[in-house]
């Protein structure tokens, strides 16, 4: 930083610079660590559902607005093309918000009585992020869909 003669009083300017430098020095690793934690949180949430299975894409629609003006209430619909019979039905649909403090949003459990694998609700998004849907089928397979949502005003507290 700035060199000073011993006994000099730090001027307001050098003090400000010093604080700014210190803040920057701390802020960078802190942000990086936070981002890493969040990535792990949603990845863990996905792994907890699918285990070692590789979810496939298609036959699964995750409907969300492209831009959500209010992150406190974002309408969404998840739907899977499925005959919903005893032999071939969707057992569960999971919704994960990748950058929320708690990524798990909801798990919907369906039955052959459901007749149609479609659920609508409203979720909170802390900021602009990807939302993931995972459908769990009766034959043990998984389907996955991902949608980016731009959030103008974040939900979740604050």
């Amino acid at each position: 930083m700035l060199s000073r003669m011993p006994g000099d009083q730090p001027s307001r300017r050098t003090f400000t610079l010093g604080v700014a430098a210190a803040v920057t020095a701390f802020a960078v690793p802190a942000t990086a660590a936070l981002a890493q934690d969040q990535v792990q949180a949603w990845e863990l949430a996905v792994r907890k559902i699918v285990g070692e299975a590789k979810p496939s894409e298609g036959k699964f629609a995750l409907e969300l607005p492209e831009i959500a003006e209010n992150g406190n209430t974002v309408p969404f619909t998840v739907s899977v093309e499925s005959p919903m019979t005893e032999k071939d039905h969707v057992k569960a649909i999971h919704v994960i918000a990748t950058a929320n403090p708690q990524p798990g949003v909801a798990t919907f459990r369906l039955t052959p009585l459901s007749g149609k694998a479609a659920v609508s609700s409203r979720l909170r998004l802390a900021r602009t992020q990807d939302v993931i849907g995972i459908a769990e089928l009766s034959d043990g397979r998984f389907l996955m869909a991902k949608r980016p949502v731009k959030v103008t005003i974040g939900g979740c507290g604050g």
Partner: protein
């Protein structure tokens, strides 16, 4: 929690797939928000919703703080015959509200 609102079709035929809409007033406090005193407001949400028809489970939802206040849920059922719905919402702490609704099967 207050009295929930439920929307069913006016009538339905056996084998028809119908949409069921439910809404209940609830703050769904996330536990992440700070109150005016600067302290975190403790989490208080509806964490579970169950829909049964004629005693059989049709649909269940496990809800987390990411679900908006006044949780709205829409889902479907293939009408197996005449019967009555039983919907229940469970709050953190175990408090439960149950609401019944008869389906007009023609």
């Amino acid at each position: 929690m207050t009295k929930p609102r439920i929307k069913l079709p006016e009538s339905a035929k056996v084998g028809e797939v119908i949409e069921i809409k439910t809404l209940i007033s609830h703050v769904m406090e996330t536990g992440q928000r700070r109150g005016t005193d600067g302290n975190l407001v403790p989490r208080s949400i509806i964490n579970n919703f169950t829909a049964k028809y004629a005693g059989a489970e049709v649909f269940k939802a496990e809800l987390h703080p990411g679900i908006s206040a006044n949780p709205y849920l829409s889902f479907f059922m293939k009408v197996p015959g005449p019967g009555e719905f039983e919907f229940s919402w469970t709050e953190d702490g175990g408090k439960q509200i149950t609401e019944k609704a008869k389906l007009n099967v023609v």
